[in-house]
């Protein structure tokens, strides 16, 4: 391990969002006796304004979870969150907000670089220059009802039934009309001459 860090105290890193670059602070807190080197991860959750209704109300129900439940924290009104006393290593941050899907974030807290934080979205493998988490997509928990649609009705079994009936009722007579009357007559004759098909007519021996 880096020998410098043995002597240093709690080193805090803040991702300064407003100025859009990293800045480092060595906090002046006293040395915590007996505890390992621990760092602070600060980040921000931002939900695009276009997809949100009632911004503040939603914020109060967002949870930020470190390492699958090791730490749970909440968002401040400005969307910032902080995990304190995080040891150096590779961590996982997940954001849970109803109505949104956030990718889990792989966060590397470097011991060598005084707790420098590197963040990568694990779903898209996109690395973040700053720890600003945005939803990958909004989530809709309900199926949307299809608006009233004539085609949908027509395609349903009931509609098909009605359609078939319409065909039978209106088109069949038309078809019958198109047949040549002579042909029709001959066909009818033929049918009459054959009479009722009986067993005897089917058996060749009786002929």
């Amino acid at each position: 391990m880096a020998p410098i860090l043995r002597s240093t105290s709690l080193l805090a890193l803040f991702v300064c969002h407003i100025s859009l670059f990293f800045c480092f602070f060595v906090s002046n807190l006293p040395i915590s006796s007996g505890s390992e080197d621990s760092y602070t991860i600060t980040g921000r959750v931002r939900i695009p304004a276009s997809t949100v209704i009632g911004h503040a109300a939603k914020f109060s129900n967002i949870k930020v979870i470190l390492n699958g439940g090791q730490n749970v924290t909440f968002l401040r009104p400005d969307g910032y969150f902080t995990f304190h006393k995080v040891p150096a290593g590779t961590h996982l941050i997940e954001v849970y907000a109803m109505g949104y899907f956030f990718s889990p974030v792989r966060v590397d807290v470097s011991a060598r670089h005084h707790g420098k934080v590197q963040a990568t979205l694990t779903e898209t493998r996109r690395s973040l220059t700053e720890l600003v988490l945005e939803p990958l997509r909004p989530e809709q928990y309900y199926e949307m009802r299809e608006p009233f649609n004539v085609m949908a009705i027509a395609k349903s079994p009931m509609g098909l039934m009605v359609g078939f009936m319409v065909v039978v009722v209106f088109l069949m007579p038309k078809l019958m009309e198109n047949i040549d009357p002579e042909e029709m007559k001959s066909a009818q004759e033929q049918m009459r001459s054959q009479g009722v098909p009986s067993l005897t007519s089917l058996l060749p021996a009786s002929r």
Binding site: T73, F74, T82, K85, P87, E94, P147
Partner: protein, 978 residues
């Protein structure tokens, strides 16, 4: 034949990807969600004249919540992390709720009206210590008094406005334990009182502005302290000495320490050990001695004087200032089925301000905690309300001699769940009238039609919802032929058994577990004791409730047998032994009582029920009973068999000794057991055969004796982020529990726990963390029987040259082969369950409880080892989904839709009588129930089936027939005239 038709149907239906999905207006139709908070630890009232009256509570489930004082509803609540136990709550500046948690290292402020977190401060902490929070009562709103927090060996002053630490003072000196931090009202001096090695009292006087020690005094007390302490005023505390027989008053006026000893025997005759009770009363002390509560007045010079004495079963609140420098406190005691609430002045105990008697349900047990609040009535007199916490964890508000509201908070800590049938509908049972007239019926259906055609106005939607709930008759207390109405039996940690109706989640009955041996047995587990079906039909079904006197596993157990229909306890017994494991045996006696074995800590097993009939059944199967124990600490799994009857002084013919049959020892330096799992014993498997696409036959290895074990390397047993991928590996085993044979071993390098698994039929699905990819992974393992794989040839089957009828024995070495596949999964998981249906025909869905406290239904076909990148046409037809590297999360397949089951702990599934449908019950801090149809309801019409449309179509058809008939008559007539 019918089954075959079913199968065809299932295959047909499963060819399309079915996801659980719901329209918004269907929410709440088959599901319900109940919100709880847990057993209240602290309560702070916020009852200003303007605005809504509320009470802020923190609970043992790490919940901080704001409740409506009028109705008991939750305004807002937050469930903190599992390791973030709340130590104190307060209201600062009249607008922020302050919580201190994580042993005094995290201080948070929440906005009082909406619960939005305002600030969060991590406080320095060095070691475990008491954590104390003191939020100053604001006299002037504009002035920001700092919050003083003691925790982790440091005293902090924190600004209530923004959470900034103003100063902190180190008290981590060796052996020094801070006991009290006191600040006289309006003073700038903070007294910190502590003990060094429990023999020396030290008082620090600190300037609250800058945090500097102004003065320090210490004094050795030769007798030593026991650590029990009560502060009676801002400059005086009372402590018990190490023998718990002398009360020591420590006064520290202006930093000068003075001791004043008063033996308890001077106050009460024949006194035993004394105990200082927690309520804070001004200039008064409540001491429990000789099973009575005595009130000791603390005089100006530390003189103690007994002023009152009450029976033991009294709960008290802290004292509260009422008008004219008077302080009052509330006490509640029991008398039969009634409780008496009294509010007395601290200075004049004879002056009872309020005396109320309230009828109380016996099944709530005793009063545990009382929180009192006063208000000024219109006639300027003082009114009081009391919030009480009962033994069953329920929360009640008492006001004006009545229970204003109550909350069943016991349900926030459910430990075990089972389901039970409702009674059969008999002639006497009246059936609720559902539909009144044909017109109303038609109107309802027209409304529904409008809803499904999206023509309904918002009012119509509400009407449809109401109508649906009403018309389904789902809340009746009788069995229905679909098996949708059932009872969910939930056992809580407080030892209370609740029966909830699946229709609307109401409590049908509840019963508090009782024991002669101890005051408050804890609830552990629930078993089906008697499920009458063939004979003994006239008997009511019953469940076995297993409890324990105390939290230690060696504590004596308590058994209770409860009638499911009535909720009455049939019998209960204090069994003399401990309960480590309960094994339901696959045998029942003539009254359908299931035989159970209970293993204790000394290695004996005890047979229940204790009847000679049960004993004779058991003796017959004596050689065939095997079970196993998992020693997670030493990494050994042991298999046991019965040996003989117990001998010795407490010989009882229902007690048996056992011997070890096999052991599986995991090397402790490289593997640590983190998870074990077996199949559900009551699971139904429809078929053993599985037909492949190429008309090949596979035989599932369906054994009830399979144990899934997951181990990780000891380094990887910690949290994510504590190990590198090289240091951690995860190994899973499938072990036969009869012979101890390891049937399968699979190792995942660079992976770690926690492992959440589900075991059903012949497959296991487990969820773990892959450190290399830094993502969660899900792996499926399917086990197939190799020995039967030869039985494919039709001729062999016809000529009888197969081994299908050969008996299966668990002793033989099974030839198995496995198939497995892994996928990424984008979320942490709390628990996994699988749907179960009556006959096991319907395809299965995994129910994944995510860390966001939602439940995701994932079709089993997504975790099928046969998935390939490019499935052939035949495979596609069979419904094999092309392989993807991660499992999809489809928002519409969250069965909890827009709800969260906060603090999710477990998911229970139970089949309904309708093959397509399964009951799902999830519990945690919240409860959630829904009915699922994993392959859609192929065996019944859906709820939104439009009978009206059908009717209209039929009417229209009949009309058309008549019209055309009339027309053709007419036409024929005119034809004949021609």
């Amino acid at each position: 034949m019918a089954i075959r038709v079913f199968l065809v149907l299932v295959l047909f239906l499963s060819s399309a990807i079915v996801s659980f999905s719901l329209y918004e207006d269907q929410a709440g139709l088959a599901d319900w969600h109940q919100r709880y908070i847990g057993k209240v630890k602290h309560a702070v009232f916020h009852t200003q004249k303007t605005g809504r009256k509320r009470v802020i509570v923190s609970t043992e489930e790490n919940v901080v919540a704001s409740l409506d004082l009028r109705h008991g509803e939750i305004f807002w609540r937050h469930v903190l992390g599992t390791k973030d136990a709340i130590d104190g709550v307060g209201i600062a500046l009249g607008k922020y709720v302050i919580t201190l948690s994580s042993e005094g290292s995290t201080l948070r402020a929440w906005n009082l009206p909406d619960g939005q977190m305002v600030w969060e401060t991590a406080l320095h902490s060095a070691h475990h210590s008491k954590s104390l929070l003191s939020v100053p009562i604001n006299l002037k709103v504009d002035k920001d008094y700092p919050i003083t927090v003691f925790g982790g060996g440091y005293l902090h002053a924190v600004s209530a406005l923004d959470g900034e630490v103003l100063w902190e003072k180190d008290f981590t000196a060796e052996g020094f334990e801070v006991q009290r931090v006191l600040q006289p009202l309006g003073s700038t001096v903070i007294y910190v009182l502590g003990f060094v090695n429990l023999s020396e009292a030290v008082v620090y006087q600190i300037d609250s502005k800058i945090g500097e020690v102004v003065a320090q005094k210490s004094m050795v007390f030769p007798g030593g302290f026991s650590g029990e302490i009560s502060s009676v005023s801002s400059d005086k505390v009372v402590v018990l000495d190490s023998k718990k027989s002398i009360l020591v008053t420590i006064g520290f006026i202006d930093g000068d320490i003075s001791f004043q000893k008063t033996p308890v025997s001077d106050l009460v005759e024949n006194s035993g050990n004394a105990e200082i009770l927690s309520p804070l009363l001004s200039n008064m002390l409540a001491v429990k001695v000789n099973k009575r509560t005595i009130f000791v007045k603390v005089g100006g010079e530390g003189k103690l004087e007994v002023v009152d004495s009450l029976s033991d079963e009294t709960a008290m609140s802290d004292s509260l200032p009422v008008a004219d420098d008077q302080e009052a406190f509330a006490s509640v005691h029991h008398e039969g089925s009634k409780i008496h609430l009294m509010v007395k002045l601290v200075n004049e105990l004879d002056n009872v301000l309020l005396r109320e008697t309230i009828q109380m349900d016996q099944h709530r047990g005793r009063v545990h905690k009382v929180f009192m609040n006063n208000y000024v009535r219109t006639d300027r007199s003082n009114g009081f309300r009391a919030l009480i916490v009962m033994e069953d964890h329920s929360l009640l508000l008492l006001q004006q001699g009545a229970i204003v509201w109550s909350r069943e908070e016991g349900l926030a800590s459910v430990t075990d769940v089972t389901t039970a049938e409702l009674p059969v509908e008999k002639d006497g049972v009246s059936v609720a009238k559902v539909e009144h007239t044909l017109f109303e019926w038609l109107k309802g259906h027209v409304l529904k039609l409008k809803g499904s055609l999206l023509l309904a106005s918002p009012e119509d939607v509400v009407a449809i919802q109401e109508l649906r709930v009403k018309s389904s008759g789902k809340n009746k207390l009788t069995r229905d032929h679909n098996g949708f109405r059932k009872l969910i039996l939930a056992l809580t940690r407080a030892g209370k058994l609740f029966a909830l109706h699946t229709g609307d989640g109401r409590i049908v009955w509840s019963m508090l577990l009782k024991s002669q041996a101890c005051e408050r047995p804890n609830g552990i587990s629930l078993y089906q004791w008697q499920v009458p079906h063939h004979h003994a039909m006239d008997k009511n079904p019953s469940v076995l409730v297993v409890g324990r006197c105390g939290s230690d596993s060696s504590a004596p157990g308590v058994l209770s047998f409860v009638d499911v229909y009535t909720g009455k306890e049939i019998t209960s017994s204090d069994i003399g032994h401990s309960v480590v494991q309960v094994l339901p045996l696959p045998f029942t006696d003539s009254t359908e009582q299931r035989l159970h074995l209970i293993a204790d800590t000394v290695g004996h097993v005890h047979l229940y029920p204790k009847t000679s009939e049960a004993l004779s059944i058991f003796q017959r199967e004596f050689q065939n009973i095997y079970w196993y124990t998992v020693g997670a600490d030493d990494g050994i799994i042991r298999g046991h068999v019965m040996k003989s009857s117990c001998s010795g002084e407490t010989a009882d013919e229902y007690c048996f000794t056992t011997r070890e049959l096999w052991t599986v020892v995991f090397p402790s330096e490289s593997e640590k057991i983190i998870s074990t799992l077996t199949r559900k014993p009551n699971e139904v498997v429809h078929t053993q055969a599985k037909v492949n696409t190429d008309q090949d036959l596979l035989y599932k290895y369906v054994s009830r004796n399979l144990l899934f074990v997951a181990t990780v390397s000891p380094k990887g047993a910690g949290e994510i982020g504590s190990v590198t991928p090289e240091e951690s590996s995860l190994v899973v085993y499938l072990i036969d529990t009869i012979t101890g044979r390891i049937l399968h071993r699979l190792s995942h390098q660079g992976c770690q726990g926690p492992v959440h698994a589900v075991f059903s039929e012949n497959w296991v699905v487990y969820h773990y963390f892959n450190l290399r990819a830094h993502k969660y992974e899900v792996t499926v393992v399917e086990i197939y029987d190799q020995s039967r794989a030869e039985n494919k040839n039709v001729w062999k089957l016809i000529l009888g040259k197969h081994n299908l009828t050969a008996p299966i024995t668990s002793y033989s070495r099974p030839e198995v082969f496995t198939k497995s596949q892994s996928y990424f999964f984008a979320q942490s998981v709390k628990t996994i369950a699988v749907t179960s249906t009556a006959k096991g025909i319907t395809s299965k869905q995994l129910l994944i409880g995510t860390i966001g406290d939602q439940i995701l239904a994932l079709d089993k076909r997504f975790v099928d080892p046969r998935r390939t990148l490019n499935p052939s046409q035949a495979e596609k037809e069979e419904g094999i989904i092309p392989l993807t590297d991660s499992l999809p999360i489809i928002p519409q397949s969250y069965v909890t839709h827009s709800h969260r089951v906060e603090g999710l702990k477990g998911i229970v599934t139970a089949p309904s009588k309708l093959e397509s449908t399964t009951h799902v019950f999830a519990y945690g801090v919240d409860l959630f129930y829904t009915r699922l149809a994993p392959s859609k309801t192929y065996d019944s019409l859906t709820d939104d089936f439009s009978y009206a449309l059908l009717l209209i179509t039929i009417v229209a058809l009949v009309a058309a027939i008549y019209i055309t008939w009339a027309l053709s008559e007419k036409k024929e007539l005119s034809e004949k005239w021609r």
